[in-house]
Amino acid sequence: MSFEEKSTWIYAVIAVTLPVAYFATVLGQLPHTAAADIEFQVPLVAAIVAAIVLTIVAHIGIAIAAPDDAGKRDQRDKDINRYGEYVGGIVLGAAVVVPLILALAEADAFWIASTIYLAFVLSAVSGSVVKIVAYRRGL
């Protein structure tokens, strides 16, 4: 597995696990708390910061484990990355319509922020899946 493919797997796993933790935390409050009263800010920022930190740490880890491969990125890696980013961008563009509608409807900030976050999560996951399939089965 190339360094870039390992990087993609890291990104995909973190893109799934941390948002699940966030949504489990905040959505679990809904049965007994109004959306406007849910304290989502700290969990949301924590999830984003944790994702960034974990991604950096994991990349340092795979670089240490295979120093000869660290940072190597060839034309195939660039082609797959470009394709994955293209698909992720389309998903993001489609998904962000939801928070836009919520904003127009003057929904609670909790719903708007959470659906924006979800849009980015879906973009990251879809882009990563496309890249992994491209690495495994070809473009």
Partner: protein, 65 residues
Amino acid sequence: MLRFTHGEMTQAELGDQIGVTRQTIIAIEQGRYSPSLEMAFQIARVFNVGLDAVFGYPDTPDGSP
């Protein structure tokens, strides 16, 4: 395979010569990746053969290109 007729060159060695990873060479050999024209010429130059000796394109069932 050309690598084996040129000093049993490994995939990593071929990758190093043209500036790609071993995994890319594997993907090319398995048909999971079509290299760029530049990369194709570089591979052919490593083996000192023409492009046709390295790469082929399957004809359609009716025999047309």
